[in-house]
Amino acid sequence: MAMGPILRNIQLHKPWFSLHHSSASRFISTLVLAEHESGQIKSSSISSVEAAKSLSEDNTISVLLAGSGPSLQEAATHAASCHPSVSQVFVAESDKLKYPLAEAWAKLVESVQKTGGYSHIFAASGSFGKNILPRAAALLDVSPITDVTAMSGCHQFVRPIYAGNALCTVRYTGESPCMLTVRSTSFPITSGARANAAPIHQVDLSTFGEDVLDKSRYVKQSSQDTERPDLGNARIVVTGGRGLKSAENFKMIEELAEKLGAAVGATRAAVDAGFIPNELQVGQTGKIVAPELYMAFGVSGAIQHIAGMRDSKVIVAVNKDSDAPIFQVADYGLVGDLFEIIPELLEKLPEKK
């Protein structure tokens, strides 16, 4: 069955959704490029749905998942009930989409867009969205906007520039679709799961294989530590910098994080020095976090690091240099030796609830 008629029917007949738009307003519909893991849609993708909802109450939101195998279909089921604003879920199942390769995904987005004619396409601003969305935008001949932190109307957005030291409000004056990557920390999930699931449709991929570039092959991925809370979502983050001096000493940061039920973060200096793996780097070109509590030990506070954590609710800094720039953003500072302060904290902090 061809995809086109199905999509058109869905957009016109939605019993739980009323379309209120004056003749002056344009029909807003958003395709969210979603990620999944272990049979669940990722929370950063649900944040993208929140972001789409904040664009317009009349936004028809479709979620697109791709991959292969049973965990994909499980993730689709989860996606169908993850947020009340999801109108439908599209599933693209193919061996070519087993891994999130940009070449295949961009072709998929181009194809789904040509059929669905969305006014907006969103992805979360992580390594998946940033890798894929611009390539898809080039195929569709539109200019994308990266790392949006706020919407002010359907075609006006705010995004950080110069490592977040300035905020740029841009109006998009190009053609449809308007394509954005959105910063998850700026669109926290406020709605819970819903009782009635949205419909799930399989994307027709019968002609998909033909023009997908076969020149990119997945080899392997480093394994991640899944015990600790995810850095992007954790309520508390404990970060270590160059001041920890060695990978061995970094274990103190891990112990403190364990005590607080926190995620572990690191500065570029700590990762470059080999104390800790790259996926824990917080900063302009690493992860952007906005936890309730951010504790930085032995971190000087370079502009590029601040860019990644300046939206934290409460910032604590511990450094033996009272002139360290980190103290300019910290709510609470302690000037002293972290090798004495961390053990004292470990001793005196209450056990996590």
């Binding site: 611009p134 300035a166 190009g174 570039l213 997945y218 793996p277």
Partner: protein
């Protein structure tokens, strides 16, 4: 094989930028400008590839106003063989326009590898490499922390820094690579190389000659400062810190 590297002239990474009082943009007059750090890493990688015998020539490219020539001279001093300057006064050379210009140059120069920085530290877009790759229909290896070329198989094995750690891909050449921080440590240009660079060619090309129309898809409404955090306090003991976190901030 030729390696082409795109480089951008940006406000130096150490500069504390100021937003203009009229909110029209960021103050860039009399501010130190440098080669984008990610572009430097890209150029360094290209030069190492040539030094290892896997490429015959490194061509540096920059798109923008006349001052781009300074950045290209630095690139030549680092070791690029020649440079191309696409002169454009366009106020906002958005990634899509830059991508189209780079594509046009690639079709002329026919490199086996196109390297770009993952993002420019001024606009922080992180789009151009991906867009050129899409326009050229070449495979892409973005956020590269390691690059190994195989001359016989004509492939590039790329380690990429992704949210979950390191992902390794194998790409058929020609390909587009965007550099991440840990790919290499760029060299400083030595004085003899700076002198040699003065006689290396910089070719000037216009967007019209490349048959590319610069199209504007955005309007900058305003540029503002981020919300300021209220001033913090320096505490005198761990006990005080725990007390504040528990009873004042209420985060633990």
């Amino acid at each position: 094989m030729k390696v082409m590297v795109a480089i951008k002239r940006v406000v130096d990474y150490a500069v504390k930028i100021r937003v203009k009082p009229d909110k029209s943009g960021v103050e860039t007059k009399n501010v130190k400008m440098s080669m984008n750090p990610f572009c430097e890493i890209g150029l360094e990688e290209a030069i190492r590839i040539r030094e290892s015998g896997l490429a015959s020539e490194v061509v540096a490219v920059s798109i923008g106003p006349a001052q781009c020539v300074d950045t290209l001279r630095t690139g030549l001093a680092m070791g690029a063989d020649r440079a191309i300057h696409v002169e454009s006064m366009a106020e906002h050379l958005h990634p899509l326009n830059v991508a189209k210009l780079l594509r046009a140059l690639v079709l002329v120069e026919k490199p086996g590898l196109l390297i770009l920085g993952k993002q420019a530290i001024d606009d922080d877009c992180n789009q151009t490499g991906q867009m050129v790759a899409g326009l050229l229909n070449w495979p892409q290896g973005t956020f590269a922390s390691k690059l190994v070329l195989d001359k016989e198989k004509q492939t590039a094995t790329v380690d990429r820094e992704v949210d979950g750690g390191i992902e390794t891909l194998c790409l058929d050449l020609p390909a587009v690579i965007t550099t991440d921080l840990r790919l290499n440590q760029p060299r400083y240009a030595t004085l003899p190389n700076i002198m040699k660079a003065k006689s290396k060619p910089i070719k000037k090309v216009s967007p019209e000659e490349l048959n590319v129309q610069i199209r504007s898809d955005f309007e900058v409404v305003q540029v503002s400062e981020p919300p300021k955090r209220k001033a913090g306090v320096i505490l005198s003991s761990v006990d005080e810190l725990i007390d504040k976190l528990k009873n004042e901030a209420r985060v633990i």
